[in-house]
């Protein structure tokens, strides 16, 4: 039974949205800036007026104020209370909802431990880092034990390493707690890693909802395909299990190792930015290496797409423009490359 249902919900540029989010699901909404992702969260939370119906656990929550919907909300700007300590920030919702001091202390202590911020309990928001603030805001939104958590770009503004670490940690914590999560991001790589399903929004409408793998193999239309970067789709003839949850698949002249606990893989999707190309043979050994000939070069603003033929296969690589400029790659030249295995998707 779906936990959250949107039925013909309309607000500003978002028109007639219909969506089912399953109980306990980690649901990620991706799309460009202004696509309506935050508006979608605001509708579920009930902080903006809309027409249509929002159902949570089959109950129409339209007449309910935000806090009675059992929804927690992590704002992109976090909106921590600067005049309250970390502990008081986390306890704000509990105090407002009339929890006893004993229960409050227990819950706050649990969340401080869960978010690994016990050492920050007495500090004020201006005394902690951006990543720590995000943890505090998340603890605050989890404190009243919401059934559903809405996350608006929770990793924006963080350095890539912290962002990756935080989003993975977030996913693990929320899955463990069984909280249905709607996570909004513009970062497709982040979405791929953590989502059970991905929804893609364009100009206020939901273009596609699918699992990460299905998203890459069947982009539905060119807008989605362009957003995900037109992945290379390869048919696989053979699958050979290796050790430690890895398999090797053979696709014509390419042998590719990827993480999978499966016996047979039919197709794999390789995002172009997961394909590295070099003009000279790299000295150190690489995973999934290949050699090929450049067939086509397409220059864009910040990137260059290089199409390489490897026997019967063709792979498109997307390189940063400055990296491309530092190499002597032209049509017909021999190039060396590697396929990063952590961003491969497959169909069994």
């Amino acid at each position: 039974m779906p936990e959250i249902q949107l039925r013909n919900v309309t607000i500003r540029n978002c028109r007639n949205l219909n969506l089912n989010i399953k109980n306990g699901e980690y649901f990620v909404v991706v799309g460009e800036t202004g696509a309506g992702k935050t508006t979608l969260l605001n509708m579920i939370a009930g902080v903006e007026a809309y027409t249509g119906s929002v159902l949570i656990d089959d109950v129409n929550v339209n007449p309910l104020p935000p806090f009675k919907r059992g929804v927690g909300y992590l704002f992109q700007e976090l909106a921590l209370f600067p005049h309250l300590s970390v502990m008081a920030n986390i306890g704000f919702g509990l105090k407002a909802q009339g929890y006893s001091k004993k229960v409050m202390a227990k819950k706050i202590s649990f969340l401080l431990e869960l978010m690994q911020i016990r050492h920050l309990a007495e500090r004020y928001p201006h005394q902690i880092s951006g990543g720590e603030k995000k943890r505090v805001a998340l603890a605050r939104s989890l404190a009243p034990s919401p059934k559903t958590l809405l996350l608006d770009e929770p990793t924006s503004g963080l350095d890539p390493r912290t962002a990756t670490h935080l989003s993975t940690e977030l996913h693990d914590i929320l899955k463990k707690m069984g909280v249905t999560t709607v996570h909004v991001t513009h970062d497709l790589k982040e979405a791929e890693k953590i989502s059970d399903r991905i929804a893609f929004m364009v100009n206020g409408s939901i273009e596609k909802v699918a699992t990460p793998a299905a998203f890459f193999f069947d982009p539905a239309n060119t807008t989605v395909a362009e957003f995900i970067g037109m992945p290379n789709i390869l048919e696989c003839r053979q699958t050979r299990p290796l050790a430690a949850g890895l398999v090797e698949v053979v696709s014509d002249d390419l042998k590719i190792i990827l993480p999978c606990n499966c016996r047979r893989i039919r197709k794999i999707a390789i995002p172009p930015d997961a394909v590295d190309v070099f003009d000279t043979k790299p000295s150190e050994p690489l995973v999934n290496p290949f050699e090929g000939t450049v067939e086509k070069i397409d220059r864009h603003n910040a990137t260059v797409k290089v199409q390489v033929s490897i026997g019967k296969n063709r792979l498109t690589s997307e390189l940063p423009a400055n990296a491309f400029m530092n190499m002597s790659i032209a049509k017909g030249t021999k190039v060396y490359g590697a396929i990063r295995m952590n961003r491969l998707h497959h169909i069994e």
Binding site: A45, V47, P65, P66, F67, V71, G72, Y73, F75, E77, A79, F81, P82, H83, L84, F92, G93, A96, Q97, Y124, P125, H126, R140, S141, P144
Partner: protein
Amino acid sequence: MKTMTFIKNVWFGNLNLWKIVPVILFFTLWELAARYGPFAGSAVFPPFSEVLLEMVALFKSGVMMKNFASTLGRVLAGLCIGTISGIGVGILMGWQEKVYQSLSPIISLLYPIPALGWLPLLMLWIGINETLPVAIISIGVFFPLCYNTAAGIRSVEKKMIRAAHILGASEKQILFQVILPNAAPQIFTGLKLSSGMSWRMVLAAEMVAIPTGLGALIMKAESLIRVDIIMSSLVVLSLMCLSFEKILGIMERKLIGDWTDNA
């Protein structure tokens, strides 16, 4: 280089010489100018030491204490009335958009009128009595406080209010636990402005219309050409202004210093 570092260390070190020396220099120059300057020996510019002695004599005789107590009472009464009404109306204006829209034009119209501009009107309306200085201080305190409170409340980020709503806070909780604490820095700015202003206004009111208080003492001293008494009264006044500001500063640090730059 070493000498420069030594001077820097002494000047800005633990002794806080950079704060103390200019004050000592000021009073020394005053003393020297009064004793050896063009007005030396004249009653119109007494040395600092004589002003101090006169001040002690005035306190001993009870004259200064009596007048100071009258002035202090008026300042406290005016400050209390102006503060309560200013913050109250400011909260209403900041919290309720319709109240803001209704009162904002009137406040904008009346705020620029100097507090002393109200004096002739108040003299006619309420007469020359104890209420007059209290009323003028209240008016002078009301406007900056009302303006700063409303502006402080309106500047509280909407996202914070939205977060409090989602966390289940009632309107009252949002006002008292989110909005007012966040508007506090601006309310304190209004309070500090008003406290200094209240001493200036009470002095003017007492000089013009009231027969008791520091202002009245100054006017009497002026008619007797007792510059030492005038200066003594001004020193007391200035010390009071400074004390009020310091007390408010301490209150500000205690209440909001932990999470603002005033820590």
